[in-house]
Protein backbone atom coordinates (compact mmCIF):
# COMPACT_ATOMS: atom_id res chain seq x y z
CA UNK A 1 0.00 0.00 0.00
CA UNK A 2 1.51 3.35 -0.93
CA UNK A 3 1.66 5.83 1.91
CA UNK A 4 -1.16 8.34 1.92
CA UNK A 5 0.20 11.67 0.77
CA UNK A 6 -1.30 14.92 1.89
CA UNK A 7 -1.32 17.10 -1.19
CA UNK A 8 -2.90 20.13 0.39
CA UNK A 9 -0.48 23.10 0.35
CA UNK A 10 -0.25 24.66 3.78
CA UNK A 11 2.06 27.03 5.52
CA UNK A 12 3.73 25.35 8.49
CA UNK A 13 2.45 26.55 11.87
CA UNK A 14 6.00 27.48 12.89
CA UNK A 15 6.56 29.68 9.83
CA UNK A 16 5.16 33.18 10.05
CA UNK A 17 2.96 34.42 7.29
CA UNK A 18 5.25 37.21 6.14
CA UNK A 19 7.41 37.80 3.11
CA UNK A 20 11.15 37.45 3.69
CA UNK A 21 14.02 39.77 2.85
CA UNK A 22 15.90 37.06 0.97
CA UNK A 23 16.89 37.63 -2.66
CA UNK A 24 14.94 35.83 -5.40
CA UNK A 25 16.20 32.27 -5.76
CA UNK A 26 18.00 32.25 -2.38
CA UNK A 27 18.30 28.89 -0.66
CA UNK A 28 17.67 30.30 2.84
CA UNK A 29 13.91 30.51 2.28
CA UNK A 30 13.65 26.85 1.31
CA UNK A 31 15.61 25.71 4.35
CA UNK A 32 13.59 27.97 6.66
CA UNK A 33 10.49 26.22 5.45
CA UNK A 34 11.94 22.74 5.83
CA UNK A 35 13.05 23.45 9.39
CA UNK A 36 9.63 24.74 10.37
CA UNK A 37 7.86 21.80 8.70
CA UNK A 38 9.94 19.44 10.82
CA UNK A 39 9.38 21.40 14.01
CA UNK A 40 5.66 21.03 13.29
CA UNK A 41 5.85 17.35 12.40
CA UNK A 42 7.80 16.51 15.55
CA UNK A 43 5.41 18.68 17.57
CA UNK A 44 8.26 20.46 19.29
CA UNK A 45 7.38 24.09 18.52
CA UNK A 46 6.70 24.87 22.16
CA UNK A 47 10.07 23.63 23.30
CA UNK A 48 12.23 24.72 20.42
CA UNK A 49 14.84 27.46 20.72
CA UNK A 50 16.77 28.51 17.64
CA UNK A 51 20.03 30.41 17.64
CA UNK A 52 20.23 32.73 14.64
CA UNK A 53 23.65 33.71 13.29
CA UNK A 54 25.12 36.91 11.97
CA UNK A 55 24.75 36.60 8.23
CA UNK A 56 21.89 36.87 5.77
CA UNK A 57 19.65 34.87 8.11
CA UNK A 58 20.28 37.20 11.06
CA UNK A 59 16.60 38.08 11.38
CA UNK A 60 15.31 34.52 11.06
CA UNK A 61 13.29 35.27 14.21
CA UNK A 62 11.04 37.45 12.08
CA UNK A 63 10.06 34.32 10.15
CA UNK A 64 10.10 31.57 12.76
CA UNK A 65 7.27 31.37 15.23
CA UNK A 66 9.17 29.95 18.21
CA UNK A 67 11.75 31.26 20.69
CA UNK A 68 14.91 32.56 19.02
CA UNK A 69 18.10 34.15 20.28
CA UNK A 70 20.73 36.03 18.35
CA UNK A 71 24.39 35.18 18.73
CA UNK A 72 27.46 37.27 17.97
CA UNK A 73 29.09 36.44 14.63
CA UNK A 74 30.35 32.86 14.83
CA UNK A 75 29.27 32.18 18.40
CA UNK A 76 25.92 30.46 17.86
CA UNK A 77 27.17 27.08 19.07
CA UNK A 78 28.56 28.60 22.29
CA UNK A 79 25.20 30.23 22.97
CA UNK A 80 23.39 27.00 22.05
CA UNK A 81 25.68 24.91 24.28
CA UNK A 82 24.74 26.94 27.34
CA UNK A 83 21.06 27.09 26.41
CA UNK A 84 20.81 23.31 26.06
CA UNK A 85 22.90 22.54 29.15
CA UNK A 86 20.76 24.87 31.26
CA UNK A 87 17.48 23.60 29.88
CA UNK A 88 18.01 20.05 28.58
CA UNK A 89 14.31 19.68 27.84
CA UNK A 90 14.46 22.31 25.13
CA UNK A 91 15.23 21.39 21.54
CA UNK A 92 18.03 23.76 20.54
CA UNK A 93 19.34 24.24 17.03
CA UNK A 94 21.70 26.70 15.39
CA UNK A 95 21.31 27.96 11.86
CA UNK A 96 24.59 29.30 10.49
CA UNK A 97 26.26 30.42 7.28
CA UNK A 98 29.71 29.30 6.19
CA UNK A 99 31.46 32.51 7.26
CA UNK A 100 29.78 32.30 10.64
CA UNK A 101 30.30 28.59 11.28
CA UNK A 102 33.51 27.81 9.42
CA UNK A 103 35.58 30.99 9.62
CA UNK A 104 35.11 33.27 12.62
CA UNK A 105 33.27 30.56 14.56
CA UNK A 106 35.36 27.52 13.65
CA UNK A 107 36.64 27.14 17.22
CA UNK A 108 33.11 27.19 18.66
CA UNK A 109 32.04 24.69 15.97
CA UNK A 110 34.88 22.24 16.60
CA UNK A 111 34.53 22.46 20.35
CA UNK A 112 30.76 22.09 20.53
CA UNK A 113 31.13 19.08 18.23
CA UNK A 114 34.04 17.68 20.21
CA UNK A 115 32.18 18.03 23.49
CA UNK A 116 29.40 16.08 21.84
CA UNK A 117 26.85 18.71 22.75
CA UNK A 118 23.37 17.34 22.17
CA UNK A 119 22.55 19.94 19.53
CA UNK A 120 21.33 20.23 15.98
CA UNK A 121 23.36 22.39 13.65
CA UNK A 122 21.99 23.56 10.31
CA UNK A 123 24.91 24.73 8.21
CA UNK A 124 24.20 26.79 5.08
CA UNK A 125 27.08 26.54 2.64
CA UNK A 126 26.65 29.12 -0.12
CA UNK A 127 30.36 29.38 -0.94
CA UNK A 128 30.45 33.09 -0.11
CA UNK A 129 29.74 35.80 2.43
CA UNK A 130 26.26 36.88 1.39
CA UNK A 131 25.42 39.57 3.85
CA UNK A 132 28.58 41.61 3.51
CA UNK A 133 28.37 41.62 -0.27
CA UNK A 134 30.17 38.56 -1.57
CA UNK A 135 33.63 38.12 -0.12
CA UNK A 136 35.55 34.86 -0.07
CA UNK A 137 34.19 32.35 2.45
CA UNK A 138 36.08 29.35 3.80
CA UNK A 139 33.93 27.30 1.41
CA UNK A 140 34.55 29.39 -1.72
CA UNK A 141 35.57 27.09 -4.57
CA UNK A 142 39.00 27.20 -6.17
CA UNK A 143 38.81 29.63 -9.06
CA UNK A 144 35.58 31.22 -7.79
CA UNK A 145 35.54 34.98 -8.09
CA UNK A 146 34.49 37.04 -5.10
CA UNK A 147 35.09 40.68 -4.16
CA UNK A 148 38.18 39.63 -2.21
CA UNK A 149 39.38 37.08 -4.78
CA UNK A 150 38.81 39.17 -7.92
CA UNK A 151 40.83 36.76 -10.07
CA UNK A 152 39.36 33.68 -8.47
CA UNK A 153 40.35 31.83 -5.31
CA UNK A 154 43.89 30.63 -5.75
CA UNK A 155 45.53 28.45 -3.10
CA UNK A 156 48.91 29.19 -4.69
CA UNK A 157 48.39 32.85 -3.83
CA UNK A 158 47.64 32.04 -0.22
CA UNK A 159 43.85 32.05 -0.45
CA UNK A 160 43.72 28.58 1.06
CA UNK A 161 41.59 25.62 0.05
CA UNK A 162 37.83 25.15 0.45
CA UNK A 163 37.31 24.04 4.04
CA UNK A 164 35.34 20.81 4.36
CA UNK A 165 33.83 21.26 7.78
CA UNK A 166 31.60 18.20 7.57
CA UNK A 167 34.52 15.86 6.84
CA UNK A 168 36.53 17.64 9.54
CA UNK A 169 34.06 17.22 12.36
CA UNK A 170 32.94 13.73 11.29
CA UNK A 171 36.21 12.49 12.82
CA UNK A 172 35.23 13.65 16.28
CA UNK A 173 33.80 11.00 18.61
CA UNK A 174 31.17 13.38 20.03
CA UNK A 175 29.57 13.80 16.62
CA UNK A 176 26.76 11.36 15.88
CA UNK A 177 25.51 12.45 12.48
CA UNK A 178 26.82 14.48 9.52
CA UNK A 179 25.20 14.67 6.12
CA UNK A 180 25.71 16.99 3.16
CA UNK A 181 22.64 17.80 1.10
CA UNK A 182 21.44 20.50 -1.29
CA UNK A 183 18.29 22.37 -2.14
CA UNK A 184 19.00 22.59 -5.86
CA UNK A 185 16.11 20.40 -7.08
CA UNK A 186 12.94 18.82 -5.63
CA UNK A 187 14.53 15.42 -4.99
CA UNK A 188 17.37 17.03 -3.10
CA UNK A 189 14.94 19.19 -1.14
CA UNK A 190 13.17 16.01 0.00
CA UNK A 191 16.53 14.49 1.00
CA UNK A 192 17.40 17.66 2.85
CA UNK A 193 14.18 17.52 4.80
CA UNK A 194 14.92 13.94 5.77
CA UNK A 195 18.41 14.86 6.92
CA UNK A 196 17.17 17.79 9.00
CA UNK A 197 14.56 15.58 10.56
CA UNK A 198 17.21 13.01 11.45
CA UNK A 199 19.32 15.73 13.06
CA UNK A 200 16.38 16.79 15.23
CA UNK A 201 15.46 13.20 16.11
CA UNK A 202 19.03 12.57 17.23
CA UNK A 203 18.72 15.41 19.70
CA UNK A 204 15.38 14.15 20.96
CA UNK A 205 17.05 10.79 21.49
CA UNK A 206 20.05 12.36 23.30
CA UNK A 207 22.51 11.10 20.71
CA UNK A 208 24.91 14.02 20.57
CA UNK A 209 26.00 16.50 17.94
CA UNK A 210 24.34 16.44 14.52
CA UNK A 211 25.27 18.65 11.60
CA UNK A 212 23.50 18.99 8.27
CA UNK A 213 25.46 20.89 5.65
CA UNK A 214 23.19 22.32 2.99
CA UNK A 215 24.60 23.55 -0.30
CA UNK A 216 22.50 26.61 -0.89
CA UNK A 217 22.25 28.88 -3.89
CA UNK A 218 23.11 32.57 -3.62
CA UNK A 219 22.25 33.84 -7.12
CA UNK A 220 22.83 37.51 -6.40
CA UNK A 221 26.39 37.18 -5.17
CA UNK A 222 27.18 34.52 -7.73
CA UNK A 223 25.94 36.91 -10.45
CA UNK A 224 23.61 34.26 -11.84
CA UNK A 225 19.94 33.79 -12.50
CA UNK A 226 18.21 31.47 -10.04
CA UNK A 227 18.19 28.78 -12.76
CA UNK A 228 21.91 29.16 -13.40
CA UNK A 229 22.55 29.08 -9.66
CA UNK A 230 20.89 25.70 -9.09
CA UNK A 231 22.79 24.33 -12.09
CA UNK A 232 26.05 25.65 -10.65
CA UNK A 233 25.40 23.86 -7.36
CA UNK A 234 24.95 20.61 -9.25
CA UNK A 235 27.74 21.01 -11.79
CA UNK A 236 30.42 22.76 -9.71
CA UNK A 237 29.79 22.87 -5.98
CA UNK A 238 29.20 19.15 -5.53
CA UNK A 239 32.59 18.40 -7.11
CA UNK A 240 34.24 19.96 -4.06
CA UNK A 241 31.42 19.19 -1.66
CA UNK A 242 30.01 15.77 -2.62
CA UNK A 243 26.52 15.05 -1.33
CA UNK A 244 25.69 12.21 0.98
CA UNK A 245 25.99 10.91 4.47
CA UNK A 246 29.43 11.50 5.94
CA UNK A 247 28.79 10.02 9.37
Amino acid sequence: MPEKVNLEFKKPRSLRNVSTHYCPGCGHGIVHRLVTEIVDELEIREKTVAIAPVGCSVIAYDYWDFDVSEAAHGRALAVATAMKRCRPNLVVFTYQGDGDLASIGIAETLYAANRGENLTCIFINNACYGMTGGQMAPTTLIGQKTTTTPWGRDPAKGDGFPLKVSELIANLPGVCYVERVSVSNPQNVIKTKKAIKQAFLNQLEDKGFSLVEILSQCPVIWRMTPQEAVKWVESEMIKTFPLGRIK
Binding site: V68, E70, A82, R85
Partner: protein, 379 residues
Protein backbone atom coordinates in the same frame (compact mmCIF):
# COMPACT_ATOMS: atom_id res chain seq x y z
CA UNK B 1 47.49 24.16 68.24
CA UNK B 2 48.78 25.34 64.88
CA UNK B 3 47.72 28.92 65.15
CA UNK B 4 45.51 30.77 67.58
CA UNK B 5 41.97 29.70 66.82
CA UNK B 6 43.07 27.28 64.13
CA UNK B 7 42.42 23.75 65.20
CA UNK B 8 42.33 21.77 62.01
CA UNK B 9 43.68 21.99 58.51
CA UNK B 10 41.27 20.75 55.89
CA UNK B 11 42.19 20.20 52.28
CA UNK B 12 39.58 21.76 50.05
CA UNK B 13 39.28 18.97 47.51
CA UNK B 14 36.11 17.81 45.83
CA UNK B 15 35.12 15.72 48.89
CA UNK B 16 35.03 18.71 51.19
CA UNK B 17 31.51 19.35 52.51
CA UNK B 18 31.34 22.91 51.23
CA UNK B 19 27.68 23.33 51.81
CA UNK B 20 28.03 22.70 55.53
CA UNK B 21 30.99 24.98 56.00
CA UNK B 22 29.91 27.77 53.74
CA UNK B 23 26.50 28.46 55.12
CA UNK B 24 26.08 28.10 58.83
CA UNK B 25 27.41 31.41 60.11
CA UNK B 26 30.89 29.95 60.23
CA UNK B 27 34.12 31.84 60.00
CA UNK B 28 36.28 30.58 57.15
CA UNK B 29 39.71 31.50 55.88
CA UNK B 30 39.31 31.88 52.16
CA UNK B 31 40.92 33.62 49.18
CA UNK B 32 39.15 36.42 47.34
CA UNK B 33 38.80 34.25 44.26
CA UNK B 34 37.17 31.42 46.20
CA UNK B 35 34.98 33.81 48.18
CA UNK B 36 33.60 35.31 44.98
CA UNK B 37 32.94 31.85 43.55
CA UNK B 38 31.14 30.80 46.74
CA UNK B 39 29.16 34.03 46.77
CA UNK B 40 28.03 33.46 43.18
CA UNK B 41 26.78 30.00 44.12
CA UNK B 42 24.99 31.32 47.17
CA UNK B 43 23.43 34.04 45.05
CA UNK B 44 21.79 31.29 43.03
CA UNK B 45 24.16 31.42 40.07
CA UNK B 46 23.87 28.10 38.26
CA UNK B 47 26.04 28.63 35.21
CA UNK B 48 29.75 29.20 34.93
CA UNK B 49 31.93 29.30 31.84
CA UNK B 50 35.55 30.36 31.88
CA UNK B 51 39.01 29.84 30.50
CA UNK B 52 42.15 29.44 32.62
CA UNK B 53 44.20 32.54 33.31
CA UNK B 54 46.28 33.59 36.28
CA UNK B 55 45.46 35.19 38.73
CA UNK B 56 41.88 33.90 38.76
CA UNK B 57 42.49 30.15 38.43
CA UNK B 58 41.38 29.41 41.99
CA UNK B 59 37.98 30.71 41.03
CA UNK B 60 37.57 28.29 38.12
CA UNK B 61 38.83 25.38 40.22
CA UNK B 62 36.37 26.21 42.97
CA UNK B 63 33.51 26.42 40.48
CA UNK B 64 34.53 23.10 38.90
CA UNK B 65 34.23 21.41 42.28
CA UNK B 66 31.16 23.16 43.57
CA UNK B 67 28.92 24.01 40.62
CA UNK B 68 27.95 20.45 39.63
CA UNK B 69 27.12 19.65 43.26
CA UNK B 70 24.92 22.71 43.39
CA UNK B 71 23.03 21.33 40.40
CA UNK B 72 24.45 23.91 38.03
CA UNK B 73 26.46 23.87 34.83
CA UNK B 74 30.24 24.28 34.73
CA UNK B 75 32.00 24.55 31.38
CA UNK B 76 35.69 25.05 30.73
CA UNK B 77 35.29 26.89 27.46
CA UNK B 78 37.68 26.79 24.52
CA UNK B 79 38.35 30.53 24.87
CA UNK B 80 37.18 33.60 26.72
CA UNK B 81 35.14 34.46 23.63
CA UNK B 82 33.26 31.18 23.81
CA UNK B 83 32.88 31.57 27.58
CA UNK B 84 31.22 34.96 27.41
CA UNK B 85 28.92 33.81 24.64
CA UNK B 86 27.97 30.76 26.69
CA UNK B 87 27.02 33.14 29.47
CA UNK B 88 24.93 34.97 26.89
CA UNK B 89 23.10 31.70 26.18
CA UNK B 90 22.62 30.79 29.84
CA UNK B 91 21.34 34.25 30.65
CA UNK B 92 18.99 34.14 27.66
CA UNK B 93 17.68 30.87 29.14
CA UNK B 94 16.87 32.80 32.32
CA UNK B 95 19.75 31.49 34.44
CA UNK B 96 21.96 33.48 36.76
CA UNK B 97 25.30 33.18 34.97
CA UNK B 98 28.89 34.26 35.49
CA UNK B 99 32.18 34.31 33.66
CA UNK B 100 35.48 35.26 35.23
CA UNK B 101 38.89 36.08 33.87
CA UNK B 102 41.82 38.41 34.13
CA UNK B 103 42.75 41.38 31.98
CA UNK B 104 43.75 39.85 28.59
CA UNK B 105 40.78 37.49 28.80
CA UNK B 106 38.46 40.34 29.70
CA UNK B 107 39.61 42.15 26.55
CA UNK B 108 38.47 39.13 24.54
CA UNK B 109 35.06 39.18 26.19
CA UNK B 110 34.23 42.74 25.23
CA UNK B 111 32.17 41.96 22.14
CA UNK B 112 30.02 39.56 24.11
CA UNK B 113 29.59 42.05 26.94
CA UNK B 114 28.43 44.68 24.48
CA UNK B 115 25.95 42.20 22.99
CA UNK B 116 24.56 41.43 26.44
CA UNK B 117 24.22 45.10 27.28
CA UNK B 118 22.44 45.60 23.95
CA UNK B 119 20.15 42.61 24.39
CA UNK B 120 19.59 43.56 28.06
CA UNK B 121 20.80 40.26 29.43
CA UNK B 122 21.84 40.17 33.08
CA UNK B 123 25.14 38.53 33.94
CA UNK B 124 28.14 38.94 36.21
CA UNK B 125 31.71 39.24 34.97
CA UNK B 126 34.67 39.19 37.33
CA UNK B 127 37.95 40.75 36.29
CA UNK B 128 40.83 39.80 38.58
CA UNK B 129 43.11 42.41 37.06
CA UNK B 130 46.72 41.79 36.22
CA UNK B 131 49.28 44.18 34.81
CA UNK B 132 49.21 45.15 31.15
CA UNK B 133 49.22 46.21 28.40
CA UNK B 134 49.60 43.07 26.32
CA UNK B 135 50.62 39.96 28.16
CA UNK B 136 52.09 42.26 30.82
CA UNK B 137 52.54 40.07 33.83
CA UNK B 138 50.42 38.29 36.40
CA UNK B 139 50.87 40.69 39.31
CA UNK B 140 48.27 43.11 40.74
CA UNK B 141 47.13 46.10 38.72
CA UNK B 142 44.23 48.48 38.38
CA UNK B 143 45.00 49.23 34.76
CA UNK B 144 41.60 48.12 33.42
CA UNK B 145 39.65 50.95 35.06
CA UNK B 146 39.02 52.75 31.78
CA UNK B 147 38.01 49.52 30.05
CA UNK B 148 35.54 48.67 32.81
CA UNK B 149 34.02 52.07 33.43
CA UNK B 150 34.19 53.82 30.07
CA UNK B 151 32.94 51.13 27.73
CA UNK B 152 35.40 48.45 26.74
CA UNK B 153 33.16 47.06 24.05
CA UNK B 154 31.47 48.96 21.25
CA UNK B 155 28.41 51.14 21.43
CA UNK B 156 26.54 53.31 23.93
CA UNK B 157 26.36 51.15 27.00
CA UNK B 158 27.55 51.03 30.58
CA UNK B 159 28.43 48.27 32.97
CA UNK B 160 27.72 48.55 36.65
CA UNK B 161 31.21 48.17 38.12
CA UNK B 162 31.80 47.14 41.73
CA UNK B 163 35.20 47.25 43.44
CA UNK B 164 35.70 45.29 46.67
CA UNK B 165 38.60 46.07 49.00
CA UNK B 166 38.45 43.05 51.32
CA UNK B 167 37.67 39.39 50.84
CA UNK B 168 34.50 39.83 52.89
CA UNK B 169 33.43 42.67 50.66
CA UNK B 170 34.27 40.63 47.56
CA UNK B 171 31.78 38.08 48.84
CA UNK B 172 29.07 40.64 49.56
CA UNK B 173 29.48 42.56 46.34
CA UNK B 174 29.33 39.39 44.26
CA UNK B 175 25.98 38.58 45.87
CA UNK B 176 24.85 42.13 45.20
CA UNK B 177 26.10 42.00 41.61
CA UNK B 178 23.58 39.30 40.71
CA UNK B 179 20.70 41.30 42.15
CA UNK B 180 21.74 44.46 40.34
CA UNK B 181 22.19 42.54 37.10
CA UNK B 182 18.68 41.09 37.33
CA UNK B 183 17.13 44.33 38.53
CA UNK B 184 18.49 46.37 35.65
CA UNK B 185 18.87 43.58 33.08
CA UNK B 186 22.45 44.63 32.53
CA UNK B 187 25.89 43.06 32.87
CA UNK B 188 27.63 43.84 36.16
CA UNK B 189 31.40 43.66 36.59
CA UNK B 190 33.36 43.00 39.74
CA UNK B 191 36.67 44.77 39.24
CA UNK B 192 39.33 43.40 41.52
CA UNK B 193 42.97 42.45 41.24
CA UNK B 194 45.58 39.72 41.69
CA UNK B 195 46.20 40.91 45.23
CA UNK B 196 42.67 40.50 46.54
CA UNK B 197 41.95 37.48 44.35
CA UNK B 198 44.76 35.43 45.81
CA UNK B 199 44.88 36.80 49.34
CA UNK B 200 43.16 34.77 52.06
CA UNK B 201 41.22 36.48 54.83
CA UNK B 202 38.86 35.15 57.44
CA UNK B 203 35.27 35.97 56.61
CA UNK B 204 32.02 35.20 58.24
CA UNK B 205 29.50 33.74 55.85
CA UNK B 206 26.00 34.53 56.92
CA UNK B 207 23.14 32.43 55.79
CA UNK B 208 21.56 34.40 52.99
CA UNK B 209 18.72 33.58 50.76
CA UNK B 210 19.39 34.06 47.05
CA UNK B 211 17.09 36.72 45.72
CA UNK B 212 16.89 35.39 42.19
CA UNK B 213 13.30 34.34 42.71
CA UNK B 214 12.39 38.01 43.17
CA UNK B 215 13.06 38.71 39.53
CA UNK B 216 10.52 37.54 37.03
CA UNK B 217 12.21 36.68 33.77
CA UNK B 218 9.28 36.50 31.43
CA UNK B 219 11.59 37.51 28.59
CA UNK B 220 13.71 34.35 28.91
CA UNK B 221 13.76 31.63 26.26
CA UNK B 222 12.03 28.61 27.72
CA UNK B 223 10.00 27.44 24.74
CA UNK B 224 6.94 29.30 23.45
CA UNK B 225 4.38 27.35 25.41
CA UNK B 226 1.14 29.21 26.16
CA UNK B 227 2.76 32.47 25.18
CA UNK B 228 4.05 34.32 22.16
CA UNK B 229 7.62 33.50 21.10
CA UNK B 230 10.37 35.43 22.90
CA UNK B 231 13.29 36.87 20.99
CA UNK B 232 16.64 37.87 22.46
CA UNK B 233 18.36 40.33 20.17
CA UNK B 234 20.47 43.46 20.12
CA UNK B 235 19.73 44.08 16.45
CA UNK B 236 17.41 46.94 15.48
CA UNK B 237 17.46 47.54 11.77
CA UNK B 238 14.46 49.72 11.10
CA UNK B 239 15.06 53.43 10.97
CA UNK B 240 14.92 55.14 14.35
CA UNK B 241 14.32 51.96 16.32
CA UNK B 242 17.88 51.59 17.53
CA UNK B 243 17.96 55.16 18.74
CA UNK B 244 14.74 54.56 20.67
CA UNK B 245 16.29 51.43 22.16
CA UNK B 246 19.43 53.35 23.08
CA UNK B 247 17.37 56.07 24.70
CA UNK B 248 15.73 53.42 26.85
CA UNK B 249 19.14 52.11 27.85
CA UNK B 250 20.22 55.65 28.75
CA UNK B 251 17.11 56.06 30.91
CA UNK B 252 18.06 52.87 32.68
CA UNK B 253 21.62 54.08 33.26
CA UNK B 254 20.23 57.33 34.61
CA UNK B 255 18.20 55.48 37.19
CA UNK B 256 21.25 53.36 38.10
CA UNK B 257 23.19 56.59 38.65
CA UNK B 258 20.43 57.86 40.86
CA UNK B 259 19.90 54.78 42.99
CA UNK B 260 22.96 52.60 43.06
CA UNK B 261 25.94 54.77 43.92
CA UNK B 262 27.96 53.25 46.74
CA UNK B 263 31.12 54.43 48.45
CA UNK B 264 32.90 54.22 51.76
CA UNK B 265 34.25 57.13 53.75
CA UNK B 266 36.22 57.42 56.94
CA UNK B 267 37.11 60.37 59.13
CA UNK B 268 35.96 62.88 56.53
CA UNK B 269 34.47 65.35 58.99
CA UNK B 270 37.64 66.25 60.80
CA UNK B 271 40.03 65.80 57.91
CA UNK B 272 41.58 68.54 55.83
CA UNK B 273 43.28 66.17 53.38
CA UNK B 274 41.39 63.38 51.60
CA UNK B 275 42.79 60.18 50.13
CA UNK B 276 40.78 58.72 47.26
CA UNK B 277 41.44 55.14 46.19
CA UNK B 278 39.54 51.93 45.53
CA UNK B 279 39.96 48.21 46.03
CA UNK B 280 43.04 46.88 47.76
CA UNK B 281 44.74 50.27 47.47
CA UNK B 282 42.23 51.87 49.81
CA UNK B 283 43.59 49.63 52.56
CA UNK B 284 47.16 50.69 51.91
CA UNK B 285 45.95 54.29 51.90
CA UNK B 286 44.23 53.72 55.22
CA UNK B 287 47.44 52.43 56.75
CA UNK B 288 49.25 55.49 55.45
CA UNK B 289 46.56 57.74 56.93
CA UNK B 290 47.04 56.04 60.29
CA UNK B 291 50.78 56.72 60.21
CA UNK B 292 50.22 60.35 59.26
CA UNK B 293 47.62 60.75 61.96
CA UNK B 294 50.18 59.74 64.56
CA UNK B 295 52.35 62.51 63.15
CA UNK B 296 49.58 65.01 63.68
CA UNK B 297 47.94 65.14 60.27
CA UNK B 298 44.25 64.70 59.78
CA UNK B 299 43.46 62.53 56.77
CA UNK B 300 40.06 61.41 55.57
CA UNK B 301 39.42 58.47 53.26
CA UNK B 302 37.02 58.21 50.36
CA UNK B 303 36.67 54.98 48.48
CA UNK B 304 34.18 54.46 45.65
CA UNK B 305 32.57 51.02 45.70
CA UNK B 306 30.67 51.60 42.47
CA UNK B 307 33.29 52.72 39.97
CA UNK B 308 30.41 53.07 37.56
CA UNK B 309 28.31 54.92 38.50
CA UNK B 310 31.11 56.98 40.02
CA UNK B 311 30.14 58.96 43.15
CA UNK B 312 30.94 62.36 41.60
CA UNK B 313 28.49 64.42 43.65
CA UNK B 314 29.26 62.66 46.92
CA UNK B 315 32.99 63.16 46.47
CA UNK B 316 32.52 66.82 45.70
CA UNK B 317 30.23 67.43 48.66
CA UNK B 318 32.36 65.53 51.14
CA UNK B 319 35.53 67.33 50.14
CA UNK B 320 34.04 70.82 49.80
CA UNK B 321 35.92 72.32 52.78
CA UNK B 322 39.15 70.36 52.37
CA UNK B 323 42.59 71.52 51.33
CA UNK B 324 43.74 68.81 48.93
CA UNK B 325 42.90 65.42 47.50
CA UNK B 326 45.34 62.59 46.88
CA UNK B 327 44.55 59.75 44.50
CA UNK B 328 46.41 56.45 44.71
CA UNK B 329 46.12 53.76 42.09
CA UNK B 330 47.96 50.78 40.68
CA UNK B 331 47.80 52.36 37.26
CA UNK B 332 48.90 55.46 35.40
CA UNK B 333 46.11 57.35 37.13
CA UNK B 334 42.99 56.30 35.32
CA UNK B 335 40.55 57.14 38.13
CA UNK B 336 42.19 60.55 38.54
CA UNK B 337 40.16 61.71 35.55
CA UNK B 338 36.92 60.97 37.37
CA UNK B 339 38.15 62.57 40.58
CA UNK B 340 39.19 65.72 38.72
CA UNK B 341 35.87 65.77 36.91
CA UNK B 342 34.06 65.51 40.24
CA UNK B 343 36.07 68.26 41.91
CA UNK B 344 36.05 70.53 38.89
CA UNK B 345 39.29 72.29 39.85
CA UNK B 346 38.04 73.33 43.26
CA UNK B 347 40.91 71.52 44.98
CA UNK B 348 44.45 70.51 44.12
CA UNK B 349 44.56 66.82 43.14
CA UNK B 350 47.80 64.90 43.56
CA UNK B 351 48.32 61.47 42.09
CA UNK B 352 50.69 58.71 43.09
CA UNK B 353 50.63 55.37 41.36
CA UNK B 354 52.70 52.49 40.19
CA UNK B 355 52.27 50.30 37.15
CA UNK B 356 53.47 47.01 35.79
CA UNK B 357 52.41 45.04 38.82
CA UNK B 358 54.52 46.96 41.33
CA UNK B 359 52.63 47.66 44.54
CA UNK B 360 53.44 50.63 46.75
CA UNK B 361 53.49 50.38 50.54
CA UNK B 362 51.93 52.71 53.09
CA UNK B 363 55.42 54.15 53.62
CA UNK B 364 55.67 55.11 49.95
CA UNK B 365 52.38 56.95 50.27
CA UNK B 366 53.50 58.74 53.42
CA UNK B 367 56.70 59.85 51.70
CA UNK B 368 54.82 61.10 48.66
CA UNK B 369 52.25 63.01 50.70
CA UNK B 370 54.85 64.69 52.86
CA UNK B 371 56.87 65.72 49.85
CA UNK B 372 53.86 67.18 48.06
CA UNK B 373 52.60 69.04 51.10
CA UNK B 374 55.93 70.64 52.00
CA UNK B 375 56.35 71.61 48.38
CA UNK B 376 52.82 73.05 48.28
CA UNK B 377 53.44 74.84 51.59
CA UNK B 378 56.54 76.52 50.20
CA UNK B 379 55.03 77.73 46.99
Amino acid sequence: MLYKGLTKIIILDSRFPYKKYMSANKKVLITGNEAMAEAALQAGCRFFAGYPITPQNELIAYMAKRMPKAGGVFIQAESEIAAVNMVFGASAAGFRAITTSSSPGISLKQEGISYMAGAQLPCVIINVMRAGPGLGNITPSQGDYFQATKGGGHGDYNLIVLAPSTVAEAFELTMLAFDLADKYRNPVMILTDAFLGQMAEPIEIKRQRPKNKNFKKDWALTGAKNRKPNVISSLFIKEGVLEEHNKKLQEKYKSVRKKEIRYKSLNLKEADIVFVSYGIVSRIAQEAANILKREGMNIGLFSPVTLWPFPYKQLKQLTADKKAVFVFELSSGQMVQDVEFALDRTLPVYFYGRMGGEVFSEKDIVKFVKKKLTYAGKS
